[in-house]
Symmetry: C2
């Protein structure tokens, strides 16, 4: 249906999106290309464009459009109605904060970030403590401004995982504690796998070329994207027609580049598959970070760390690195890349222990928001939890509570989406196996086209048309269920560890 | 002095600059990085940002700031007064056009561009003729809207070369015709130099590395810039702290990469030397395209095609390309890179014949604007002028009137700035030789630091504080004078051709 106000809404949203994607390019360029002296002015350019986008989005003109459309949203067909609803929600949130609050928050984030840098340098949590405390108070205030159903944590979670609730996360992480902690402990008692050959010398240029080949194998579209190097791998997009990934290369580590490539490639396939005709509109973008992460993790773990995938492609890896891999079989390689071992650092974790890192952050964030934890002595809380869930002693704050940047940015409610992603991935992959006859055999033959088509059909093309939960139900017939991840983990790791 | 309105003016100008530089990044990225499928959405992103910048610049809020400041501009010190004047001039121009005119112009440009592409394809000027005619009519209309002193051409020239006049250009190009045409004809009768070795195979990767070294020799600051490949070399800037150059490499041509590097490097040194504290303001940007081109040409020709420069650096070139240059002396090389030969294509021309290409475009553009030429039969006019000034027969339209894209973009008044650049360069370099004792000896020793310091002091740091003519008088004691270019040309080429 055509509707003049809706058309104006689309036009304005797309202009705001143009500003947003230009900002994304400024940021991508900062990580990938920008000469060092460019940093100062770049910061102000980003701030200006972000400010202009916010100004337009919250200004009177656009506000009245949203108000009018919201009042008669039920007259619109599903897709348009969904756009109106999601925009109204974002708009409502964006207009709730006073300039005083926004500025105070911005200062607190800057201070926390600086304090975090200093604390890392000094390897001393106490340097970060007060700034973090200040930021947590602001997050509590923010939660009250935004509102929530069960728990102030939800006000923040909802930004990253719309519709996510604390009872739901509590239930999931209860399962993690009861089932996964126990399972991983059992694995630790088995004979350990050989993995040292993954840490011999892997030439930088060869790794680069290998990474490109792996992305091509996944059908990442290089006519609608590119790969570059950056300190931390990430995916960014300026439209489904331009979705870029970055990676990093460590010459003493085969895995660092390889799985970052596959992981970011999974994110990028999602973005490349979003509906272009919904450019700039909610339905044209990803539904939640949990679903986004399900796409990266499905490719990284369910496909990229599977034996069938490497039965197909191990020959290629051997061709690139004959000196390191020539004498190892695909099975030895498969075991090595799936070594399970508790580690201090989240980003270096295997795919099972990983969830304990998230569990710890979730428990701490929730406790800070409800007041059962305070920033005082939080390093001790951290260390005790690492001892309890991972069985490791944290030797210092740098390898402990100071390791991640997220809290220094004031991000609360972000970490759980990583675990949600893995759990969704297991459930989706299981369904894909049901829906695509012979899927594992296809992967073993190097064919992931049908899997990608399935993801495109069931997930990518919908954008945000459905909520994460609706999407999961449509695809698998039920809400997210941890048991599918547990089934996947047991089958895989019992196979590896006997 | 502090002044609240002036402060607001600065803030708003800098916000508009942020939008402009973000647009520049979108465009740089399009040439350097963008995957092919990204083109469509990128076009709209550029259009939106340009539109927003225009909207802010011409909107009521900023207009009243400019009006107020203009009314009391004489109360401000020189630099601020100059910013107000130049902004008011730009603002006046920007607000003169109706939306109807802007849209009609935009359509005519699109049509002319498409027609030019088709005409190139068909190698047939008649396919382009009507669209060009339409565009010329719009340019005439535009000139009347803008206003001019002596000739409608000036309304357009002034955009690129503020203060440039038709009587002045007529005088310059009269000298070109009387003095340079004759001189080049004489050179053609001399024994020709050997140059074929510049067209042997020059490895792509080695050329790339050599180009980077050459930029470093010039003191191009790689912490405030970078070099990339693009189909057509260009310089772009997002602030003096981030000025990027691009080049292209042809393996059968040593010069194509080398002098494009030096040329763009010259542009970039200017931009890197502009006053950062005037970011976003007229005084923080280049004074005119002629002066900009003087910087690129001074490095490209007066330095980069000089014997002293290659006495210092020919060894480096030989080290990179021993198979091609190992058996040639610096003197042979110097003669080869300065070979004078009339050619059909402007961008492939030597530094003397080049000005005949510009002369022809100037005469035609001026004639079209005043009505002494029409688009009917313009290809014949073109061919006759090439015969007259360069002594060459134009075999077809692709190598004739259709070779440049500028008219298809509707650019009138742009070409002369190329010649102005060379003429300014000769006059500036002569002055630098006077001001810096032993400059040529320094260059021969590989030292261009004092030259750069001189350019920074006399030209770069001033930005647009002075007009091009004022700047030239301040530096050399007189206005632009063609005789210095002629002196330079005679001394150099009589040396080469004996």
């Amino acid at each position: 249906m055509t509707d003049k106000t809706y058309d104006n809404y689309v036009k304005e949203m797309q202009r705001i999106a143009d500003l947003g994607y230009a900002t994304a390019l400024l940021n991508w360029d900062k990580e990938v290309n920008m000469p060092s002296k460019g940093a100062g002015i770049r910061t102000r350019q980003v701030a200006t464009l972000s400010g202009l986008a916010h100004e337009r989005f919250t200004g009177d003109s656009f506000s009245s459009i949203i108000k009018e459309l919201s009042g008669r949203k039920n007259d619109f067909p599903q897709q348009q109605k969904r756009n109106i609803e999601l925009t109204a929600k974002r708009h409502d949130r964006a207009t709730k904060f006073s300039t005083e609050f926004v500025e105070r928050n911005s200062r607190a984030v800057s201070e926390a970030y600086m304090a975090w840098l200093k604390a890392r340098e000094a390897n001393d949590y106490s340097v970060f403590k007060n700034a973090l405390g200040n930021l947590i108070e602001i997050r509590k205030e923010e939660a009250e401004i935004i509102g929530y159903e069960n728990h102030p944590y939800e006000a923040h979670l909802d930004q990253f995982e719309p519709g996510g609730t604390v009872p739901h996360l509590d239930e999931l992480f209860k399962d993690v504690k009861e089932q996964l902690v126990k399972f991983v402990k059992e694995l630790r008692e088995k004979e350990q796998v050989e993995f040292e050959f993954l840490h011999h010398h892997y030439d930088k240029d060869k790794q680069w070329d290998f990474g490109i080949e792996v992305l091509k194998l996944m059908h990442y579209d290089f006519d609608a994207g590119r790969q570059d190097l950056s300190p931390h791998p990430f995916t960014t997009n300026f439209a489904p027609t331009d979705v870029r990934v970055t990676t990093r290369i460590h010459e003493d580590n085969f895995g660092s580049m390889t799985w970052s490539c596959i992981h970011e490639g999974g994110h990028a396939l999602y973005e490349q598959g979003l509906p272009l005709d919904q450019y700039g509109l909610p339905v044209g973008s990803a539904v939640s970070l949990g679903i986004h992460e399900s796409q990266s993790r499905l490719w990284e773990n369910n496909v990229g760390r599977s034996l069938p995938f490497w039965k197909a492609h191990y020959g290629l890896a051997q061709k690139y690195f004959p000196e390191n891999l020539g004498s190892k079989t695909a099975e030895q390689f498969y075991k090595a890349i799936n070594k399970v071992e508790p580690s201090l650092i989240r980003v270096e974790s295997d795919e099972l222990n990983y969830h304990f890192h998230i569990l710890i952050r979730y428990e701490i964030e929730k406790g800070l928001m409800e007041g059962t934890y305070s920033v005082e002595g939080l390093d001790q809380v951290w260390n005790a939890k690492y001892k309890e869930y991972l069985g490791v002693e944290v030797p210092d704050d740098k390898r402990g509570i100071l390791q991640d940047i997220h809290w220094a940015y004031g991000s609360i409610g972000y970490f759980p989406t990583y675990s949600l992603g893995s759990f969704y991935a297991a459930q989706f992959f299981r369904q894909a196996e049901k829906d695509i006859p012979g899927l594992v055999g296809q992967i073993e033959e190097g064919n992931t086209s049908n899997l990608l088509t399935w993801l495109r059909e069931n997930i990518h093309r919908h954008g945000s048309l459905y909520s994460a939960d609706e999407l999961c139900k449509r695809i698998t017939g039920e809400s997210l269920n941890f048991k599918y991840f547990m089934e996947y983990a047991k089958k895989k790791y019992e196979g590896i560890y006997g």
